[in-house]
Symmetry: C2
Subunit: 207 residues, 2 copies
DNA sequence: GGCAGATAATGAACGCCGTTCACCATCGCG
DNA sequence: CGCGATGGTGAACGGCGTTCATTATCTGCC
């Protein structure tokens, strides 16, 4: 058994990513294994290493796909209105909605941990940057901020929305009267924006 | 070889938690294994299962300890001043500082995933609730909020701070001009508070 | 002192895991 | 037809979490 050439390297790559994605969807990152992927596509585990350097790299590519898909509804939310505050609220709701609809895929993007020293690849960093950039324009319009202050605002606000999603959707926020995710993202954004508008970006324009 | 009785069940428990903690500190959650713990304390893996139901339970107890230790500097920050805004900023900085000083322990609290259906135990939920409650009083004083609105504020603001810490400390926010963690938590809190003060908690007082 | 029963701990075993690599079946080409 | 290149294999290595029959030791009783 060798040299069957039923698939191109490219086709094989897609088959593997597809299978991996399905496994993550069904059983989470923990349910993913080289052997399971191989079983699913009718190859042996060794074949995976002809296409990817290791499982981590494969997972990173699944995550890249997930981030690409996540961007679509967020962009749509931004395009759906001209009111910058509504754009931000909509993008956050789209984010929360995606996370809730595809919990295992979404969590894989943030739970997957590379070995201590290895840095995340550029193609992931770039996609996260795209998400942050999505909210820069509305944020600039609504607050008049720019430069470093705008950057800080985009990062802190977006990290904040992400934090709300993480904690609520992983059930780590079972506090008194646990709030719905969107309720909390709305709360965070509304108040943050109100503060941003009422002040001239105090913390970052000091130096 | 059996029945050495060199240690009480309690002592054994502490030995195991200590060893597990050290392993997590040194190599992260991924570096933890029943065999490694056993090796470190001079017992065999089987012994661990006389004390804990499984590794997950052991890890949850390590996490409980971590959350207890995390609360100390946060409480100190709140006690250090009477200005509620400074209390909140201080608590967030203490949180970020702890996360940076003990990255692997801190991350273990949020990266550890239980099998799909199993819910997190109360002794973890309670400790997270304690952290959120820490900021309720200052938040109430600074904004005048109470009831559900106060609850939502505490949860969204604290989740936000957590999100900032997660994304900056795991290196997932390598965007243009990456900001220091404390810079972003300050930014988030300052603006959120300003917004909270300038408005009468709009999103939650509507119904 | 000697013996029985209780029990703390073992260690071998099961079925997984990621990863490597010598090997071989098959292909295209001369 | 033969041959070199190559796609893919599958066995192997050292790890993992977890279970459990077995055993060495302790305790209490005669």
């Amino acid at each position: 058994m060798a040299r069957r050439s039923e698939h191109t390297r490219e086709q094989l790559r897609d088959l593997m990513l597809e299978a991996a994605e399905q496994l993550i969807v069904d059983k989470g990152l923990a349910g993913l294994s080289a052997r399971a992927i191989a079983r699913q596509i009718g190859y042996t585990p060794g074949t995976i290493y002809l296409v990817f350097a290791n499982l981590d790299e494969l997972i990173l590519h699944v995550n890249a796909r997930t981030l690409d898909r996540l961007r679509v509804p967020m962009q749509a939310a931004v395009a759906a209105t001209d009111d910058p505050e509504q754009q931000l609220l909509g993008a956050a709701r789209a984010y929360a909605d995606f996370a809730r609809s595809h919990p295992n895929l979404w969590r894989a993007c943030f739970e997957h941990r590379l070995p201590e020293d290895v840095a995340g690849p550029d193609f992931i960093d770039a996609r996260i940057a795209q998400l942050v950039e999505l909210i820069m324009a509305p944020l600039a319009r609504v607050s008049g901020a720019q430069g470093a202050a705008l950057n800080a605002a985009a990062q802190s606000l977006w990290s904040g929305v992400h934090g709300v999603c993480i904690l609520t959707l992983t059930g780590k926020l079972h506090t008194v009267g646990g709030q719905a995710t969107e309720h909390l993202t709305d709360d965070l954004i509304t108040h943050y924006l109100a503060g941003l508008v009422s002040r001239a970006a105090p913390t970052t324009s000091r130096g």
